[in-house]
């Protein structure tokens, strides 16, 4: 999309002041209607006046609500073609103006055409005003500006009419225009369309009308349908409210949570549909008694349910004797396998999407801290809560101050001794944190071995041994909850230079801790439990994971209670200076990633685990929401939300899913399934089910292609070699393209810079010119001006109105922006016609010369 702002910069001739002037006037178009509606004046009487007083907006008022008296006339004494109207207030009540938009089109030609200018100059200007054909939409905004643009609008209407309905709607929606204008264009487009269709077939009109009517009603029906789907979007309102009160960063946690929840719902549905339902058909009766504690431990009664691997049959299930059968082994392995492939692809693609959206752009420029983007891009328009707004303002204040100190001090220079000291502290902190992680892992390892012995010994379902199995998950969750506090304390000790470093280092340590604990548990499951003498080691692992997930969930709830609820009570009653707790996004997200990792590992051993996780996440969502709104205040730090979300998804992909995939891989290819339970009993490995199936298939001619695919693609190293080579080549090509674009960007930036230099140079020249001319010929110019404007008496009412706000801007410019004398000067000067024509010619020449000079300066840069 291009708009006139944009075009101004793309257009190398921008720095000609007429162009400037055109742009200005274009933007002021909106204002031209300010005094037209008769109704408006009545409103002014009732609201307008007191509003004017209440407004705390010193600048906004003068430009629009000041009458054409005071400033206006004194600043443009000589200049405007409408000079003789400056004190004419009567146009306010000119109602017909609404209908005379087209007459305003002539306005801009006015300075050029009114008699003096040479033909060549004029056409030159016109040529410059011509836009490239692809910028259709820009034309829409410039329709009122110039005469050629009048046909532009027709062009726009034409191009819109030739689009498909959907495209047209999108294009219309995107137009930066007022509603009235858009509707006008829309009506024209519709008229155009009917005209065209009439052209095509006048005879078929009846049939066509019917069709059109049907199309319209079909579209309305579709709209109604999409509205109902709209309402189905769950938690939309909740998310809105959270965003409004706590800003986007906290919102991103909930969006992430919702996303994971969807993931789990999906995998639960898949597993339930393809594994569990067939199993129900072949279910054996469960003769274990249910005691209640099983809900926590997952053992006992549940051992003989569809919850665990061990319960599934290895038979092929069929309803009738010779009917179609369902091979449980294949169903199990393919469901899990395909689920992981889908997971991997979804993560990879969303990762790529986020990455391209958030990192590629910032990568180029992220050298310095961006005060600019901080200032103009930081306001979170989501927030509508009063307290949140105040807090946000306060935080911004401190941040900007911090930013200022950073700017002022630039880089803190440390002496050698200090630097060594800092390095030592960092090293020490890392050693301490890694040490804790290692210690935690060792503890977990020995505890788990102990746990296993307990299992092996007491397989009776006595209460004591069951409770004892809960020790491991509780310890693990405790470690997971408490050690992060130690880490953040360490982080405070270290005194990082930037808060960003602090956040990332803390997150890295937490990730290391969590992943190493999960890793050691995996080692224990795959290397020790799997080789133990137990009856059904897969079920044991599944139970372990079930307990871990459940206890983790309980700890999450407790964390909300203690960390947020009690903390608020303490913060508001006992220790007032503690204040309200903040919602710790980083830690909460890491907890989510941790539990999702557990669920993924568990899918193979306990296919219904996603269902349990789904319920857990569901509850967590509501508990966190309530706790957040009751207890917390918006976070003080600025989270670079977009980048944070990207890194969270990256974490979910990289250590988490990839780790899980390797664990699953080891289990499927290397480990021997237990002999007496589960769908894979009796096989040498789970994967053997697939090879056996292929062998069976080989005997059928109809399914030869499956065998061929299996032999030539899946088990063939050469194929993977070719595939990875291909991927590498594509990556390399893209990498090269990106490098080329980067160079291009650099060159273009340089060019813009040079264009700016041109402009300034030109301004200086023009200014000098101006001064020289003004003293000599100001009087005469004014006289000429007046007389010339009266050549077109019929147009005048329409002309001066649009002119007026434009002038008002200039006024503003002159009065309040003295720091940019150039621009102000140029604005008023463009109206200053007698001096203008020769000035323009010379200016063109000067600009060309200046550009040549600039080109010569960096000749290596952008020779075409």
């Amino acid at each position: 999309m291009h708009y006139h702002y944009n075009e101004a910069f793309e257009n190398p001739d921008y720095h000609f002041s007429e162009t400037l002037e055109i742009d200005r006037r274009g933007s002021s178009q909106r204002n031209q209607f300010s005094h037209q509606t008769p109704y408006d004046s009545s409103l002014h009487g009732s609201y307008g006046e007191h509003r004017g007083r209440e407004q705390n907006y010193p600048v906004a008022i003068p430009m629009s609500s000041l009458g054409p008296g005071s400033d206006y006339s004194q600043n443009l004494p000589s200049t405007s073609p409408y000079g003789n109207f400056t004190d004419n207030i009567s146009f306010e009540s000119e109602p017909e103006l609404i209908h005379t938009r087209h007459s305003t089109l002539h306005l801009l030609d006015y300075p050029y055409t009114h008699g003096i200018s040479s033909g060549s100059e004029d056409s030159f200007i016109r040529r410059r005003n011509r836009r490239p054909p692809d910028e259709i939409f820009m034309a829409s905004s410039s329709t009122l500006e110039t005469d050629p643009a009048c046909s532009k609008e027709e062009d726009l209407v034409g191009s819109l009419a030739s689009m498909s309905t959907n495209e047209r709607m999108k294009a219309m929606q995107k137009m930066p225009e007022t509603m009235g204008k858009k509707r006008e264009i829309r009506n024209k487009v519709l008229k155009e369309i009917t005209k065209r269709s009439r052209h095509r077939g006048a005879q078929l009109s009846c049939c066509r009308q019917c069709l059109q009517g049907a199309a319209v009603s079909f579209r309305r029906f579709g709209n109604a349908l999409s509205e109902y789907f709209h309402q189905l979007r769950v938690w939309h309102k909740t998310l809105k409210i959270i965003g409004a009160e706590f800003g986007t960063s906290v919102l991103s946690y909930f969006v992430f949570l919702k996303w994971l929840l969807n993931f789990n719902i999906f995998s639960f549905l898949i597993n339930f549909g393809f594994i569990t339902i067939p199993q129900f058909l072949a279910a054996e009766p469960n003769n274990l008694s249910f005691m209640g504690l099983e809900l926590l431990t997952g053992a006992g009664y549940f051992q003989q349910t569809v919850l665990y691997y061990g319960f599934y049959t290895n038979a092929t299930i069929s309803k009738t004797e010779n009917g179609p059968s369902y091979n449980m082994q294949l169903a199990y392995i393919f469901t899990v396998g395909i689920y992981f492939v889908i997971c991997f692809l979804i993560l990879l693609f969303s990762m790529a999407k986020f990455f391209s959206r958030n990192f590629t752009n910032s990568e180029l420029f992220s050298v310095n801290i961006q005060v600019a983007s901080k200032l103009l891009c930081i306001w979170d328009f989501n927030i509508t809560n009063e307290k949140a707004v105040k807090l946000k303002q306060k935080n911004l204040h401190t941040q900007i101050k911090e930013g200022l100190t950073e700017v002022n001090t630039e880089v803190l220079s440390f002496s050698v001794k200090e630097r060594v000291l800092r390095l030592a502290i960092h090293l020490l902190a890392w050693v301490a944190s890694l040490g804790t992680a290692v210690a935690a892992c060792t503890g977990v390892y020995f505890l788990s071995i102990n746990n296993l012995e307990l299992f092996m010994k007491g397989h009776r379902s006595d209460l004591e041994s069951q409770t004892a199995t809960l020790v491991l998950p509780v310890i693990v969750s405790l470690l997971n909850t408490l050690i992060p506090f130690f880490f953040s304390w360490l982080g405070h000790l270290e005194k990082f230079q930037t808060p960003g470093q602090h956040i990332y280092v803390t997150i890295a340590r937490n990730i290391i801790l969590k992943m190493s604990i999960v890793g050691i548990l995996c080692y224990y499951w795959l290397n020790i439990v799997a080789t133990s003498q137990s009856q059904c080691w897969e079920t044991l692992v599944g139970q372990d994971i079930y307990r871990l997930v459940l206890v983790d969930f309980i700890f999450c709830l407790l964390g909300s209670f203690f960390g947020e609820f009690l903390r608020r009570i303490i913060g508001t009653t006992v220790c007032m200076n503690l204040g309200l707790p903040e919602f710790d996004i980083g830690r909460s997200v890491l907890d989510l990633i941790y539990s999702q990792t557990l669920t993924w590992i568990g899918i193979l051993f306990s296919p219904l685990l996603p269902g349990i996780q789904m319920i857990a996440f569901f509850i967590v969502f509501f508990v966190k929401k309530v706790s957040l709104r009751r207890n917390c205040q918006p976070p003080r730090k600025v989270w670079r939300t977009a980048q944070m979300t990207t890194s969270f998804i990256f974490l979910l992909l990289c250590p988490s899913l990839l780790g899980v995939l390797s664990v699953i891989g080891v289990t499927v290819w290397r480990l021997k399934p237990s002999k007496e339970c589960g769908p894979f009993r009796g096989l040498s490995s789970m994967y053997a089910a697939v090879t056996e199936w292929i062998q069976i298939l080989e005997s059928y001619t109809a399914s030869k292609w499956v065998v061929w695919i299996y032999h030539n693609l899946i088990t063939n190293q050469l194929f993977f070699f070719i595939l990875s080579t291909f991927v590498l080549i594509v990556t390399y090509i893209y990498w090269q393209i990106i490098r080329g674009r980067k160079t291009m960007t650099k060159l273009l930036l340089k060019q813009i810079n040079n264009a700016g230099k041109d402009k300034q140079f030109l301004r200086r020249k023009l200014q000098a010119e101006q001064r020289a001319k003004r003293s000599s010929s100001a009087r005469g110019g004014r006289g000429q001006q007046r007389s010339s404007s009266s050549y077109h008496p019929s147009r005048q009412p329409a002309q001066e109105v649009p002119g007026y706000p434009g002038r008002a801007f200039d006024t503003n410019q002159n009065t309040s922006y003295n720091e940019h004398p150039f621009s102000a000067e140029i604005l008023s000067s463009s109206d200053f016609l007698p001096g203008w024509e020769p000035g323009a010619a010379r200016a063109v020449a000067l600009a060309l010369r200046a550009r040549e000079a600039a080109l010569a300066e960096d000749s290596g840069g952008f020779q075409p």
């Binding site: 600019a372 328009f381 989501n382 977009a642 402009k759 940019h820």
Partner: protein
């Protein structure tokens, strides 16, 4: 929903639907909100496109805008007369751009307008100062403000004219991915259905 037909004709609803990011129901809801603000000025029947405008004072008191430090500017940017009174068309327009469906480019245009306090099509130093004051509740000293504004212009101004044109602005927000999330997204709450 029995009164659906009396507020707008199907034709009008289609037009609104084509020109905004809203569905029919949302447009009716917006009309409800608009009507609520001044029941005795705004007619229920909009089939004849009555020329009614509500003053800024009423609109900036809507809960969606009330706390926004830029509320006056937002409303002004969307008002056709530039003074802040909004006709229903402007009103729908405003929420259409503010809705999360609106594309980033469109939002960027209006964000630029909002930050351009003196509507000279440039964000100049004075605009930045005003923005800064709004963002921090005028708690910075004059010196700090000048320093920050200088820094901003120095960073974002590509062509060296000492102020930020739309191209500069666009370029800058392209570096700030958060703009997409933060920017001007403020949907109308679901109020009681009509």
């Amino acid at each position: 929903m029995g009164n659906k037909q009396t507020i707008f004709t199907d034709e009008q609803l289609d037009a609104y639907q084509d020109c905004t990011f809203f569905t029919r129901k949302e447009i009716l809801r917006l009309h409800g909100r608009y009507y609520e603000m001044a029941p005795n000025v705004v007619p229920m029947d909009y089939t004849k496109d009555p020329d009614v405008k509500l003053p800024m004072q009423l609109i900036i008191n809507m809960p969606e805008l009330k706390e926004n430090p830029f509320k006056e500017r937002i409303v002004e940017s969307f008002s056709e007369d530039g003074e802040g009174s909004l006709s229903f068309n402007d009103f729908v327009d405003m929420f259409s751009v503010l809705s999360e469906m609106a594309p980033r480019e469109l939002k960027a245009i209006y964000a630029f307008k909002i930050y351009d306090f003196n509507t000279d099509n440039f964000i100049c130093k004075a605009d930045l100062e005003k923005t800064l004051n709004k963002l921090t509740r005028e708690e910075l000293t004059a010196e700090e403000i000048t320093l920050v504004c200088e820094k901003v212009i120095e960073e974002a101004d590509m062509d060296g004219d000492g102020k930020l044109g739309f191209a500069d602005f666009e370029n800058m927000i392209s570096k700030a991915p958060d703009f997409l999330r933060y920017s001007l997204t403020n949907q109308v709450y679901q109020q009681k259905p009509l």
